[in-house]
Amino acid sequence: MTGAIRTIVAVLAAAAALYAMQRTTPVYSEITSPVRTNGQQGKRVETRNFAIGIAKVHLARSIDAPKSGRPHSYTTSGVWVIVEAAVQATNESLSLTAAEWLGPDGTRYSMSQRLSTLPGTPGTEQLEPGVPRPMLMIFEVPESQLSGATLLVSQSAYTPLSEEAAVAMTEVQTDDIRPVITIKRGGGTLPWVLEAE
């Protein structure tokens, strides 16, 4: 009798263990997900390979910027988020090519490809260690995803276990949405100039 009970208990325990393991196995994207360094808007965030600080965030309904040399009005059904940041490589020359706006509900909005050729946007220049550079990141998001978002910046969206800065965007002025912001090529310290109407 004891033997039978022991067998039943052993089988149940094995089934429970297998079920628990099956439910908790991390998926591939979790195993290879970027290594996150958390930070806050307005403060310097240091990952192993680079440092980033978010300076200003502007919101607009429309962006005027050149498109293949001609002026063009970039409209959106949501809101344009223009993030001005400073970045710096730590140990070796590198490029930051991936930026994502992680909404409060977990939806990911990648950096807009519509304006990815503007000077200073991720992927347009190489960073050298010790030389801080300005960086311009532009996202197109629905209005509901503005507050409580996190900005994710990394060297590449595809490299497994890459370093990623996760900046909590706590000071986005969601009531200050400009109708039009014009982005022009800058000449001085900043490679771009923003003009709000």
Partner: protein
């Protein structure tokens, strides 16, 4: 003792036999169902233009088809080319920005070339579409020289399924499935010189 052992052996044989018959019946039934499904495919729903189709990853609404001598960018190709152009609305239902897949539409009559997707807002090559932000899109297929442009176009809209773990790596992703719908569009000509 001997009788007891013989009885156990008989019981065991019986159990193996029952299990064997059960397993055979189950695999035969499963195989028969697979064969039956393959022989009798579900008819693909015919949907009108202007009706939204839920394909899994996307909400698609086809609008119109026409022939054009230039892509939506307006940049004329160096040699005269006919672009089979389809306008549609596209909304990303997934949780991350994604490019429209070239496998989203299958045309009948078939066109060998892969489509190019353009964003109507910019009349420029479309980047990834953001979740929940519906956009007017333009797809173009470059017709090879000599191919007669069709008067009517049947567009098969593909569907996708989300798998939290795929069978190879255990990675999450969207996978193409059988078509979700078929939409028939008349092909208009935007330029008289290339009317079908």
């Amino acid at each position: 003792m001997a009788a007891e052992r013989q009885s156990t052996l008989r019981q065991r044989l019986f159990a193996i036999l029952v299990a064997g018959i059960g397993a055979t019946a189950a695999s035969a039934a499963s195989f028969a169902m697979a064969v039956y499904d393959a022989a009798n495919p579900e008819p693909i729903a015919a949907i009108d233009a202007g009706v939204q189709i839920d394909t899994g990853k996307w909400n698609v609404m086809l609008r119109e088809a026409y022939l054009s001598p230039a892509p939506p960018t307006g940049i004329q190709p160096p040699t005269p080319t006919t672009f089979l152009t389809v306008e549609f609305d596209l909304e990303n239902r997934s949780a991350a920005s994604a490019y429209a897949s070239t496998k989203l539409f299958t045309l009948d009559p078939p066109v060998e070339a892969l489509p190019d997707f353009y964003l109507e807002r910019d009349l420029w090559v479309a980047g990834p579409l953001n979740p929940g932000m519906r956009e007017r899109m333009i797809a173009t297929w470059e017709l090879p020289a000599g191919q007669t442009p069709p008067h009517e176009l049947s567009v098969m809209v593909g569907s996708q399924i989300y798998k939290r773990r795929d069978n190879l790596y255990g990675a999450s992703g969207w996978f193409d499935r059988e078509p979700a719908a078929r939409v028939t569009l008349p092909v208009a000509a935007r330029n008289e010189s290339i009317a079908p």
